[in-house]
Subunit: 382 residues, 2 copies
């Protein structure tokens, strides 16, 4: 099928582009380098350089024989985005094209304004691209487990049947996110649900947990096909920060008490999930929501895992709590369902010591390039 | 106290401006005439002309002795909106400043795009105006009962305690609105709740039902102080459309089965509600939500009430069902709580025959100005 990958230059977008092209799909990769631009603006560049999307497409074709069409442009610009739908009439769209950093969205007025307008308008334009030019198109949208926040009840997969005063109905599971970035994904979900039920669109909304990992079948073919690795406070996840701190000889900085629990996912499993979702499209008028992670643990457990992997390489890893720059619960109930993707056929790759050791080895190769200034939190929630 | 009225030129904005000024508040009235512009663009102008906001301010001062400051500008422009907060450091803000038409928001891509961007950005700018220049300011935001849609459970006032698998938590009451306009208010609520709990703002979100009525203490002082009356398919409510149809000798057009049930409110009660909310501000970090209506009934019952009032004036009113241009349930459960404002002191003015007869008499004065082209639905939901 013909698939548009929106945000194809990103950490997940690029491996997804290669994975779907290698599976024989007719892939169009779209990006405007927003993430690279913000990284430069905020001194938050990745650990090693990666070729631009046009170069990546050429290298991938040279290495694999699979051609990828590349379109560079701003999807929050309606003419560009709707024009792509008109030109390509896609069977499916994978929508990663959002400003993805929570700290950036909390940095100040203009960053928050950009995040809100960019993310909502891209999603809005994608919806209208489908309405106007590809009504049967299956839109696969990346949401985040962060949409739910940390409720005191079990988190279900997107929806919740509620019984109230003897009557019942089914609703979107209540959402209360911890940053403006995460909140824009809540707004996306609300807006998507309105348009899906009103115009009979097909949509899958994947509530993804933090993703880690640097390997995939295609990445492993050539060093030039690697995906970006951010360890800074703007784009880096806790996993990446801890791994880099382990290599740099800096204590792993747990924010506050470290009881913050989330569901995690291997990059290889993101690729499986997207491909499985594409192969089994949502029905017309269905907003299918699945929670996309394979195992859940706290930041303290994560630090312990990184310490164990690091120590096995002789790194002598220390762990230290620092004041939490975010406003979030540090000790809370967390139990989230995630059976939908397993039922579609997902075979999980867990966060084993071997996986972390492989990541550490790659980081050690670039040890001299680690910028210590990028690791500690530079954005506070208040 | 100093109060900014945003959207002060509108059907509710102008009577609110006069009411709060007459109560001795230091009122700043802000508008950019968006509604008048859309009305001109869509051949949906009000039944009679009203002076512009600057003229209205002068007439009101001349008639009542109360001065109102007027600022004309676009609140979706951050410089203008944040500049007002910096200049006036308001104690309270009444935020009506949104594109308020459901049919307009469903007309096509560009109208939907404008509605989304205008409404979200005004609310966003108001939030940031408070964060940066008036953190103690009480923001009174007009939401809509339409945010909830028509769930099969009782509608509570904004929040719902949910018990799930033996655990409990309190969440925003689930929302599922029937138009993009109504959906932007859902997004507003989600965004406001994020910023309230993160920055400790004070906010009241009033889920208002359709408002009817053309009288208030200040309007009654001088004909030139009247508020606008729209009966067209873009800005007119079902109440106004029925009243005009009764006068014009056109059967009242019930959309579909007419079982659509909503909570209604007299204009005088909107004024009471806003004033009561302003006198009892929300706490810091509180998003206080109240359902703002006084009685609920179906469209069929509404048509019967208008018919009864019209017949008493000898109008011989007919009622007719036409195909529903909207996508909505026409026969549904509806039971919404609305005790919060009664507890604050609201004394309801119900939709009596006398109220409808008074409105009919005013419309009869302008019978020759009724444009039949504006009454029937020109926008369909699909």
């Amino acid at each position: 099928m013909r698939i548009l990958i929106l945000g194809a230059d990103g950490y997940l977008g690029w491996p997804t582009t290669m994975d779907l092209a290698a599976k024989g799909h007719d892939v169009v990769a779209v990006d405007n380098y927003l993430r690279r631009t913000i990284a430069e603006d905020t001194d938050s560049e990745a650990l090693y350089k990666t070729p631009n999307l046009i170069e990546r497409g050429k290298i991938f074709e040279e290495v694999s024989g699979h051609k990828v069409d590349v379109e560079i442009g701003d999807l929050s610009d309606a003419d560009f985005c709707l024009g792509l739908f008109e030109k390509y009439k896609p069977d499916a769209v994978v929508h990663y094209a959002e400003q993805p950093s929570a700290p950036y969205s909390m940095r100040g007025f203009s960053e928050a304004q950009m995040t809100l307008n960019n993310n909502l308008n891209v999603t809005f334009n994608v919806i209208w691209g489908a309405i106007q030019h590809a009504p049967e198109c299956h839109i696969i949208k990346l949401g985040t487990m962060g949409e739910y926040g940390t409720p005191n009840i079990d988190i279900e997969e997107g929806w919740l049947e509620i019984e109230h005063k003897g009557r019942k109905d089914k609703f979107l599971f209540p959402r209360a996110a911890g940053s403006l970035y995460h909140t824009t994904k809540v707004l996306d979900t609300d807006m998507m649900w309105f348009y899906v039920r009103t115009y009979g669109l097909r949509m899958t909304d994947l509530m993804q947990g933090p993703v880690y990992g640097l390997e995939s079948t295609e990445i492993d073919m050539d060093e030039r096909l690697r995906t970006m690795f951010n360890y800074d406070d703007i784009f880096g996840t806790a996993v990446n920060r801890f791994l880099v701190q382990a290599v740099a000889g800096i204590p792993l900085t747990v924010y506050g008490k470290g009881g913050q629990t989330r569901g995690y996912l291997n990059l290889k499993d993101t690729l499986q999930c997207i491909s499985l979702a594409a192969d089994s499209p949502a029905d017309k008028g269905e907003l299918r929501i699945m929670n996309q992670f394979t195992e859940q643990f706290s930041v303290n457990e994560l630090a312990e895992r990184v310490k164990e992997a690091g120590d096995s390489l002789g790194l002598n890893v220390q762990v230290k709590s620092i004041p939490n720059p975010r406003k979030e619960m540090e000790d809370h109930y967390y139990n989230a369902a995630h059976s939908g993707l397993l039922e579609l056929g997902l075979e999980p790759n867990f966060m084993t010591k071997e996986v972390l050791v492989d990541m550490l080895k790659l980081i050690i190769e670039h040890k001299d390039d680690i910028s210590h200034d990028r690791i500690m939190p530079r954005v506070k929630w208040k």
